[in-house]
């Protein structure tokens, strides 16, 4: 144990990404046998800090001290060796293999037959059984992992962490997909671990849970530590104030758009998936910017993807100027004048190996076809016009998309959709991972579009962005609409409260 009583200390850790100071002189001190909650808005730096602890990122400065000794964690394997393990927000198990193989992966017990090492399945089974018994988990070690429920898989992950004789276990949003009973079971395991002197770093948005399970709370904002205090001295209101209590440092362009008549009317939209959006109703006006707020997992992305024909819908109606507009394919949505800028720019936005020109025109090639062939001159003209209008910084139209910065890639994607001349733009986190300067330019484009009479739905996890850009804000929580706020009069506290309403 360290002389000052902390099991783990991260001292003055800073980490910079191009254009973003993700961590700014953050200090986190965790005592053994306690639960230390880490809170903050999306993008406050919690996950970055934990990735530094686990060796997934290397901090630019600062040090990590474990039991009084400074340690250098270069990769997850080193972290595990030091007794630090992490249960990820999205679990990464191997569903087709057995529970025990998932736990002992990379360090299977071996039995030699002659000179050849074989995996000792019996020893592995027994070790797993003993581990589970110790933690009060009742799962057959030989079951295929994929057959288990999410909460059981999580128990397996925790058991795995324990099996590394971990001193520190990081749990990133562990209850996001658990039922109440399952949460109780998780809490029993956590208390048991505490009793053995294990320190738990617990990341969650759910305030009630935090106040119930944690001993100390560290709150982060904009990559900085705001405060660390005992949980007993905190209330929900206090936490919210610490999390959002900042000056509006971001600047937003002035808006001159005037929302007109209703163009899109969504009623009772419900997904077939159990945990997804249900009974969502809203109206969108001509020239309006409707912000959608909520926490990660509020099913906002799923909602707009359903509107764009990428996800199934079991109930509800979508009317576009009175006509039925519940579509089944993106192609159909496009034809009706909708456009979707997806959240996952890399995964479902850009074609990295194609040029800026190809990227900007792929959604609307037919417009440039004459006698079955593409009229390259017209295409080039349209491409360069749009590139100029959106002020995309690129050496040429032939530059490959992967060589552009995130902000410029995003502008090219906006260009792609603007060239289809949509009436309704669905923008999913349009400024995620983009530096401040480019953000302002994208805001400007969005407000200009609204002024021209385009209707815009903008999902954002950044509160200032929602407040600075939206005419109205629809807040979602766990798949349901928890309320509407006027953009001008809304406050971050109100959004936060609605975002956690059903938790």
């Amino acid at each position: 144990m360290s002389p000052n009583g902390f099991l783990l200390e991260m001292r003055n850790v800073s980490k910079e990404f191009p254009g973003v100071r993700a961590l700014d002189d953050v200090t986190l001190q965790v005592r053994s046998g306690t639960v230390h909650a880490l809170m903050g808005e999306n993008g406050a730096g919690k996950s970055t800090l934990m990735k530094c602890l686990f060796g997934l990122y290397w901090p630019d400065s600062g040090e990590i001290v474990l039991e009084g000794k400074p340690v250098k964690i270069t990769e997850p394997k080193v972290a595990l060796g030091h007794g630090i393990s992490m249960i990820h927000q999205e679990l990464h198990p191997i569903p087709h293999r057995s529970v025990m193989e998932n736990i002992w992966l990379g360090r299977f017990p071996l039995r030699k037959i002659g000179p050849l090492p074989f995996v000792d399945h019996r020893a592995m089974y027994r070790a797993t059984e003993a581990l589970f018994k110790d933690l009060g988990i009742s799962i057959d070690p030989a079951t295929r992992l994929g057959n288990l429920s999410v909460s059981k898989i999580q128990s397996v992950e925790i058991a795995k962490a324990v099996s590394y004789s971990s001193k520190v276990i990081v749990m990133d949003e562990p209850t996001s997909s658990l039922t109440e009973n399952e949460v109780d079971h998780l809490f029993r395991i956590i208390r048991d671990l505490k009793g053995r002197g294990v320190a738990i770093i617990y990341i969650s948005h759910k305030m009630e849970e935090i106040l119930k399970i944690s001993d100390e709370v560290t709150i982060m904002r904009d990559g900085k530590r705001v405060t660390t205090s005992p949980a007993s001295e905190l209330t929900e209101d206090l936490i919210i104030r610490h999390m959002v209590g900042r000056d509006l440092t971001h600047r937003f362009p002035e808006r001159h758009n005037e929302p007109g008549e209703v163009v899109l009317k969504v009623e009772g939209l419900t997904s077939p998936a159990a945990k997804s959006f249900r009974n969502v109703s809203f109206e969108l006006r001509r020239g309006e910017i409707l912000g959608i707020g909520g926490l990660v997992g509020a099913q906002r992305t799923e909602l707009v993807e359903a509107l764009f024909g990428m996800r199934a819908v079991t109930a509800g109606t979508v009317k576009l100027r009175g006509e039925d507009a519940l579509v089944e394919t993106p192609a159909r949505a496009k034809k009706l004048g909708m456009a979707l800028l997806t959240e996952d720019r890399r995964g479902s936005g850009i074609f990295p190996a194609l040029s800026v020109l190809e990227n900007s025109l792929i959604a609307d090639l037919r417009r440039y076809v004459h006698f079955m062939l593409i009229d390259d001159r017209a295409r080039r003209a349209a491409g360069s016009r749009m590139v100029e209008r959106l002020r995309v910084k690129t050496p040429s139209l032939a530059t490959l998309m992967r060589d552009l910065s995130g902000g410029n890639q995003q502008k090219v994607l906006l260009a792609r959709w603007l060239l289809t001349e949509p009436d309704i733009l669905l923008l999913d986190e349009p400024t995620r991972g983009i530096d401040v300067g480019a953000k302002f330019e994208i805001y400007t484009i969005i407000t200009e579009l609204a002024k021209q009479g385009k209707s815009i739905v903008m999902i954002s996890s950044e509160m200032p962005e929602l407040l600075g850009m939206s005419d109205r804000i629809m807040v979602m929580c766990e798949g349901r609409v928890s309320g509407f706020l006027e953009g001008k009069s809304a406050s971050q506290e109100e959004i936060m409260r609605l975002a956690a309403q059903f938790m």
Binding site: M310, K334, K335, G349, F351, P352, A353, I374
Partner: protein, 362 residues
């Protein structure tokens, strides 16, 4: 392609301007890596020619060599064009060779001279030349359609879907080939107008233009236009580059894939017909392993197996590289087993070079 210093210099005449300004080295390297395949082809030609002058008769660099290489590789260019579709969308079409085989047998069986001794259809009237040819191509287009449908509809990996049709098409072809009275005898005695398609030329002598080379060139031009000038071609590149983004962009991925494999099938069919015409016969083993040669040519020609990257001229050069190696190494009497080893090394070296180019850019 592993470009050595020596090849680098020998590749010079084609592209690399060796100016003496600052940064020349960098510029040479860039031009070279942009045109590495072409440089490699020229290097290989020059190496073989140099050896031929040193040890052989010194006749390798000649118009007749060029003619022979082009004639022998015309059908391979056509097959590689078809196979490129699957690779461009991060798949592989293993059924190519078997489609070549069935098209050869189908067209040959209906285009025998009536006075030939062993006729496949003893009572068949003289058909117009285009009819059996179109029938053979249509059959392969249909097989391609099935390939595409299975891939698009059920999400079967292209590799597996075409492995299935590879086996099935060979079976169908062999059943047909074994019908009475042919009973698996090689089909011969093809009509003169048919063999003329494979062996004839515009003009005569060394400077004539063989039909088969013209057809392959036409296919290459058609493919270049299709891939670069039509929405369909752009969509193929987009699907290969990022299928999710393609879907979000409203591209009809389902039909693009089906049409793609259908076109590929037609091209294999055309290649099969020309093979029969060129060789004057057909058996059910025609086209065997062509798919692997086609994949190798595409890959050496710069088509990335991860999808979305590759050009039509690159594929043509890729085919020619193997064509030159086959012809040239035989010309200078290299042992055929050594030829195989050299080919293998070239394939792997080409891909490692290609991969390195993209890794370096990250």
């Amino acid at each position: 392609m592993a470009v050595t210093e020596k090849q680098l210099k020998e590749g010079k005449p084609e592209g690399a301007p060796l100016s003496t300004g600052p940064g020349t080295g960098k510029r040479v390297l860039r031009v070279l890596s942009d045109n590495a395949i072409l440089a490699a082809l020229i290097a290989i030609v020059l190496l073989i020619a140099a050896y031929d002058m040193w040890k052989g008769e010194g006749t390798f660099l000649s118009l007749s060599t060029l003619r022979n290489v082009l004639i022998h590789n015309s059908t391979r260019v056509i097959v590689a064009m078809g196979a490129a579709f699957a690779i461009l969308t991060a798949g592989a079409d293993l059924s190519a060779g078997r489609m070549v085989g069935i098209a050869a047998v189908l067209s040959a069986s209906m285009l025998q001279a009536p006075d030939y001794l062993r006729l496949f259809y003893p009572n068949l009237p003289q058909l117009p030349l285009f009819l059996p040819i179109l029938a053979a191509i249509a059959a392969c287009a249909a097989f391609g359609f099935i390939n595409g449908w299975v891939i698009a509809q059920f999400g079967v990996a292209p590799f597996i879907a075409t492995l299935g049709s590879y086996a099935a098409i060979y079976g169908i072809n062999s059943k047909y080939f074994n019908m009475e009275p042919n009973s698996s005898q090689p089909i011969g005695g093809l009509r003169a107008d048919f063999t003329g398609l494979g062996t004839g030329a515009i003009g005569s002598g060394l400077f004539s233009l063989p039909y088969i080379v013209l057809i392959a060139a036409a296919v290459a031009v058609f493919m270049w236009v299709l891939m670069n000038k039509t929405p369909f071609g752009k969509n193929v590149y987009a699907i290969g580059g990022n299928v999710n983004a393609a879907k979000v962009s409203g591209i009809n991925v389902y039909w693009t894939i089906i049409i793609m494999y259908s076109i590929a099938g037609s091209l294999y069919g055309l290649a099969g017909v020309l093979e029969a015409g060129r060789t004057g016969g057909a058996t059910n083993n025609y086209g065997n392993m062509y798919e692997l040669d086609a994949i190798a040519s595409c890959v050496v020609g710069g088509v990335s197996v991860t999808g979305g990257i590759g050009t039509i001229p690159g594929i043509v050069v890729g085919v020619l590289i193997f064509g030159v190696i086959n012809y040239g190494l035989t010309f200078i009497n290299v042992d055929p087993y050594w030829q195989q080893i050299i080919k293998g090394v070239i394939i792997v070296a080409a891909v490692s070079f290609d991969v390195r180019k993209y890794v370096a850019k990250k």
